[in-house]
């Protein structure tokens, strides 16, 4: 039983408010110091370096930077206006705009928590001004931020692709359909609640075709950047890391020459966003990889695989079991860390049963993100509530309908694989 001690230590440290990366480091160095892992404890430091010194991981700071450049280029405002002309006329207009904006944005920060923080700061006060409850606004913001990581170029998908050794381009292509399903389910939930509570549309009339076209042309650059990246990857023009660097260059050029909003004074905040984004996300990846070394050394993935396969060899039943397991993990651990620790444990099981690893990647990401907004410990719930100053109790009352909506989308993503896989399969 003592082999599970490091895992227990992670939970104790994490719940006593130690950041997840340091909880994982603490448990790992405890293991390598006091257990026989076949090497001197100092050599665990080699794992710190090998986990970081990987060229594909460089995609992370690049996409974080591209996201920040887009933000300062006024692209976020344009996307919000685009979302408004598409959905502002519906009941609960601002809440619908919130959902559509998350779908347009893509999870470029690498952490769903950071993706939830931005709209919490910008959209929640605006929604409150227009008569929406603050708890409701926070709940829909947290729920919709679960969509961003599956929209290209979401960094969570890059991390999964590296672990499961699948094509980043295919993962990106596979992300659109789950993202749209999640958005559609959340929009239905918003419509039902808004109708009941009388939340008004954000614009008096439905936008006419000309307005939509005008807004579309205005946002076409930012909307087409991910497509450019996917096509570039598909035709082997560049690696995912280079795609990130190209995205920085392209969004910078768009910001300066097309939207003319990117200024020299934005340079410093963009660099700071990149520094903090990289420092947070990559450190979690490193710590989870070091912890993963302990799991591997103790053959825990193999034991888990054997146990799970003893339980059932039916892939649909297995997906149900894994969904329940992942949901639980996602509720307790930060999304990125959960993915890095759990993916190597469960991907071999599902692949053995004939599930496409790309399809399973989508199931996993949607599931872990859903866990992130689920009480009592969902990390996106805490992020949103701390930004908007909503008591957790009030948030919990408002989040349930959206959790149900996201659960419905998880079921569709899990059990209709053809729907998820047609885009990546079409890519060849």
């Amino acid at each position: 039983m003592e082999v599970y001690l490091p895992a227990l230590i992670v939970f104790i440290l994490y719940f006593s408010s130690i950041p997840i990366a340091f909880a994982l480091f603490g448990a790992s160095i405890f293991y390598f110091t006091f257990f026989d892992a076949g090497m001197p404890a100092e050599f665990v430091l080699q794992k710190f370096i090998t986990a970081t010194a990987s060229f594909p991981l460089l995609a992370i700071p690049f996409f974080v930077m591209a996201g920040s450049v887009m933000n300062y280029s006024g692209i976020s405002t344009k996307l919000m206006m685009m979302a408004d002309v598409l959905t502002g006329h519906m009941v609960g207009g601002m809440a619908q705009v919130n959902v559509v904006l998350s779908t347009f944005m893509g999870g470029v920060s690498g952490s769903a928590n950071a993706d939830a923080a931005m709209p919490s700061k910008i959209l929640v006060p605006q929604m409150e001004q227009r008569g929406y409850g603050r708890a409701f606004s926070s709940a829909i913001t947290a729920a919709s931020s679960a969509i961003s990581p599956v929209i290209p170029p979401g960094i969570t998908m890059i991390i999964y692709a590296l672990i499961a050794q699948v094509s980043v381009g295919k993962m990106f292509a596979a992300g659109y359909v789950p993202g749209f399903i999640m958005a559609a389910c959340l929009m239905v939930a918003v419509a039902i609640i808004s109708k009941k509570r009388g939340y008004k549309p954000s614009r008096a009339n439905r936008a006419n075709r000309q307005e939509v076209l005008h807004q579309f042309i205005d946002s076409v650059w930012s909307l087409s950047l991910p497509f450019g990246i996917i096509l570039g990857l598909r035709f082997g023009l560049f690696t995912p890391t280079e795609a990130g660097a190209i995205a920085v260059l392209a969004s910078g050029l768009i910001g300066v020459f097309v939207y003319k909003e990117l200024k020299w004074e934005h340079f410093k905040p963009i660099l700071k966003d990149t520094i903090y984004g990289t420092g947070t996300v990559v450190l979690i990846i490193v710590s989870a990889s070091v912890f993963g070394y302990y799991l591997n050394w103790e053959r825990i993935p193999q034991m888990l695989t054997e146990q799970l396969l003893l339980f059932t060899e039916n892939k649909w039943l297995m997906l149900a079991v894994l969904n329940a397991f992942l949901l639980l993990i996602g509720m307790f651990l930060e999304g990125g860390a959960a993915l890095i620790i759990v993916a190597p444990l469960v991907v071999p099981v599902v692949v053995k049963l004939g599930v496409d690893p790309i399809h399973f990647g989508m199931v996993m990401i949607v599931n872990i993100m859903l866990g992130g907004v689920t009480p009592p410990f969902g990390s996106m719930m805490f992020t949103t509530c701390s930004v908007t100053k909503v008591p957790i109790g009030d948030f919990v009352k408002e989040i349930w309908p959206f959790i149900i909506a996201l659960l419905v989308s998880l079921m569709i993503v899990t059990y209709v694989p053809d729907l998820i896989m047609f885009l990546p399969n079409w890519m060849g």
Partner: protein
């Protein structure tokens, strides 16, 4: 002059990290452009950008730590009465000091042990990668000490 020194000290990690990130971005973009325009690849681009990334990660981690921006949950801690909260924070700071201080110490030993090992492309000492750990965790340990002192002051003040 004193103002500038204070700024440099306050943003120490950000300045170093920003420097490495810029080199990384320029190297990778230049490599792609050169490949497409002049059909020429910089053979050291991948290694240099990876070295910069390692430094940006561990020094950036210290910047994040300094601002207490790391992702964690303190919901359970916040449920405790104020006095016990302060005790718990002090204990957590001691634990963090143990973890970070030990990693800092091990990174010195490890860098020393693997000093002779050359890197794959440039053939320089692998200390160019490994010393990022000493630097990053050294700074993190310093911040931990600062937080520990703050938590101690709060705890003692409260008791008085």
């Amino acid at each position: 002059m004193a103002g500038r020194a204070k700024y440099l000290l306050k943003n120490f990690e950000e300045l170093i990290c920003g420097f490495f990130i810029l080199i990384m971005v320029v190297t990778v973009i230049a490599n792609v452009l050169l490949r497409y325009i002049f059909d020429y690849s910089i053979y050291w681009a991948e290694e240099v950008s990876t070295i910069c990334f390692v430094w940006a990660t561990f020094v950036g981690a210290s910047a994040v730590y300094k601002h207490k921006m790391d992702i964690g949950i303190d919901v359970l801690l916040l449920r405790l009465p104020k006095f016990y909260q302060n005790i718990a924070r002090f204990i957590v700071s001691i634990l963090l000091l143990l973890i970070n201080g030990y990693i800092f110490y091990m990174s010195i030993v490890f860098t020393h042990m693997s000093f002779q090992k050359p890197t794959a492309v440039l053939g320089i000492s692998s200390a160019v990668f490994n010393s990022a750990l000493i630097f990053g965790f050294g700074l993190i340990t310093l911040h931990t000490l600062k937080f520990l002192k703050q938590d101690f002051v709060i705890l003692v003040d409260r008791e008085v």
